[in-house]
């Protein structure tokens, strides 16, 4: 474990060095994230005020949900799909393969600290800003603990989804299109565009079986107490964890197939 940590630490450091060079970018992305959040808050408030208030998500939690969904979104933004697609496109992937480290793990090591730093640097001010304007309910300690676990799982899921999308570069050169599809679908199915609880009941049941809800809906449901009893909370985590395990299998399978393609194409 320590050996592994030592081996991947350089990648993580390299990733962090990269963030520190883009300070202005972080500031700007905080500002625009805040604006995007505000727009969404206004949109949904209008809905709550102007009509029959939806039952799935109480009004007191609406703002918290939208703000935190945005911050989780930042945490899940990693460029792994782009990175892999770029390497495949330019043929650099062959170089990455000869390094004596696991490719997927090194990708994770490069990107995780970056995402974490930008989520913290951009997210904390946004959260603080919104707590000034709207009173955000304080979560209980138990919910906070559940949330922490769910966030870890959500980061793993985001990484896995992006990795798989990156591998699509072996099949098509329009990785931009693939990524657009992914971004739209993920934001939608995870509950970033519309809180999942606001969908019609049947749709909610369906969406909560997919891996994407594990990115935003699950952690926030746990944090905001949107679950029934402890067993229900356990089920939410179990669905997330189940998908992480399943996707790990899919990843290694897809990776092995792609490798065969590299060998055939000669990189």
């Amino acid at each position: 474990m320590i050996r592994a940590a030592r081996r991947y630490a350089p990648f993580a450091l390299a990733g962090l060095h990269a963030v520190t060079q883009y300070r202005s970018t972080i500031v700007l992305s905080a500002i625009t994230a805040a604006a995007a959040t505000a727009l969404q808050v206004f949109l949904w408030r209008e809905v709550y005020v102007g009509g029959s208030a939806p039952a799935g998500l109480p009004f007191v939690h609406l703002t918290s949900y939208i703000v935190l969904a945005q911050i989780l979104g930042l945490l899940h933004t990693n460029r792994i799909d782009e990175l892999i697609a770029g390497e495949v496109y330019r043929g650099d992937i062959a170089v990455s393969l000869v390094r004596p480290v696991n490719y997927a793990l090194s990708c994770l090591a490069v990107n995780l600290p970056t995402a974490a730093v930008s989520a913290v640097l951009a997210g904390v001010p946004v959260l603080a800003g919104f707590s000034l304007f709207a009173s955000l309910p304080v979560p209980t300690a138990a919910n906070l603990a559940l949330f922490a676990v769910a966030v870890l799982l959500s980061v793993a899921l985001a990484f896995q989804i992006n990795f798989l999308v990156g591998l699509a570069a072996f099949v098509t050169t329009n990785t931009w299109g693939i990524r657009t599809i992914k971004n739209a679908l993920v934001a939608f199915l995870a509950g970033q565009v519309i809180p999942l609880a606001l969908f019609p009941a049947d749709v909610v049941t369906l969406l909560r079986l997919l891996p994407f809800q594990g990115l935003i809906d699950s952690p926030l449901r746990l944090l905001l107490g949107g679950y029934g009893d402890w067993a229900d909370a356990g089920r939410i985590l179990a669905v997330q964890a189940g998908w992480v395990v399943l996707l790990t299998g899919v990843m290694s399978l897809a990776w092995r197939r792609s490798l065969r393609k590299v060998e055939v194409l000669g990189g």
Partner: protein, 342 residues
């Protein structure tokens, strides 16, 4: 054709401190180093000349070419190409120059090579006759036809460089700038590229400015040389003058095995030829490097004939390689000074 007057180009580079703490600190500071990539350089290259721009890595060669091609503006001083300021009159100058950066591509990454050329023809407004003539030339000399319908991004480095060089010549430029153009080419293709450039120079009087670490490129193409060191010009003249500036030459010899030991041989030379350096070379040979103002090749060989049972002597031309090695070795790390503030 190409004129540089007191040209300098300085870059500010944010100081990066090592380690994570350093990089976090860098994030909140605005300290920078000033890199004097080109420092008060003046030179003039007449039309039709093929000039080699020689200097160690980081000497400022690529930067000079970027200034001459209008990609960047000099910090101070002036450059002119065909009488025009290449940055201010960029479009006019671009019509008259061709550029190749060995590590970069100017082709359309997703287009097949031939499509790229068709687009270039329109961009440069190349007359049909010129286009056909040049395409025929490239097909004959660079085997460009073989690249056919492969998108550029799928070409090997060597194939791509062929296409890049052809692309830079498509519009019959008056000046051709080549920054390490033969990277990735095999020996045969390198020769083909040299022949092509010489051909174009002979036919159209194209002025050529070349940087390369390949001695074959320099001697095979250029008739003049411009040597830069730490951002400043240290020599300009014909290739022959440059070689004449060599102040040390060498004789390598081989003697009958067993007649003397190597240590004895070195001692003998040191005694008979003061100021000379004798170095054991491969397979029992000895290389004698002598300063030209003290000794002549005749004198050195006379001593060797006199004292050793010679089986072979080699007196090479004053060679560029020795000279370049000296120029490169004399160049210390990059010239920087410290700045502070925005």
């Amino acid at each position: 054709m190409i004129v540089a007057e007191h040209v300098s180009k300085h870059f500010k580079r944010h100081r990066r401190e090592p380690g994570l703490r350093g990089s976090l600190r860098t994030m909140f500071s605005s300290q920078y180093d000033l890199v004097r990539a080109v420092d008060d350089v003046s030179f003039e290259v007449p039309a039709g000349v093929k000039i080699a721009y020689i200097g160690a890595n980081g000497a400022g060669k690529s930067t000079t070419i970027k200034l001459l091609t209008g990609i960047m503006r000099p910090t101070t001083g002036q450059v002119r190409v065909d009488g025009l300021d290449p940055h201010r009159r960029r479009v006019e100058v671009a019509h008259r120059i061709g550029v190749v950066f060995g590590q970069r591509s100017q082709l359309w990454w997703d287009l097949p090579v031939l499509d790229s050329f068709r687009v270039l023809r329109h961009i440069y407004e190349v007359p049909r006759a010129v286009y056909d003539r040049n395409m025929r030339l490239f097909r004959d000399r660079l085997d460009l036809g073989a690249l056919g319908n492969t998108p550029v991004r799928q070409l090997s480095l060597g194939q791509r460089m062929r296409a890049e060089i052809a692309a830079s010549l498509l519009h019959d430029p008056a000046v051709l700038f080549l920054d390490e153009p033969t990277i990735g080419l095999d020996l045969v293709l390198k020769q083909a590229v040299r022949d092509l450039i010489n051909h174009v120079n002979a036919e159209l009087g194209t002025t050529v400015m070349l940087t390369s670490h390949d001695i074959g490129d320099i001697t095979g193409i250029c008739d003049q040389a411009l040597v830069v060191d730490r951002g400043a010009i240290v020599h300009q003249g014909t290739m022959r003058e440059l070689l004449r500036s060599v102040d040390t030459r060498a004789v390598t010899f081989e003697y009958a095995a067993g007649s003397v030991t190597e240590a004895e041989a070195l001692q003998i030379i040191a005694a008979e030829l003061p100021d000379v350096r004798a170095i054991p070379a491969e397979s029992g040979r000895i290389r004698v490097e002598y300063p030209v103002e003290r000794w002549s090749a005749r004198q050195v060989i006379a001593v060797l004939l006199n004292r050793f049972d010679l089986t072979d002597v080699l007196v090479p031309d004053a060679d560029l390689e020795t000279l370049l090695r000296r120029i490169y070795a004399g160049s210390p790390a990059e010239p920087v000074s410290v700045g502070d503030g925005a």
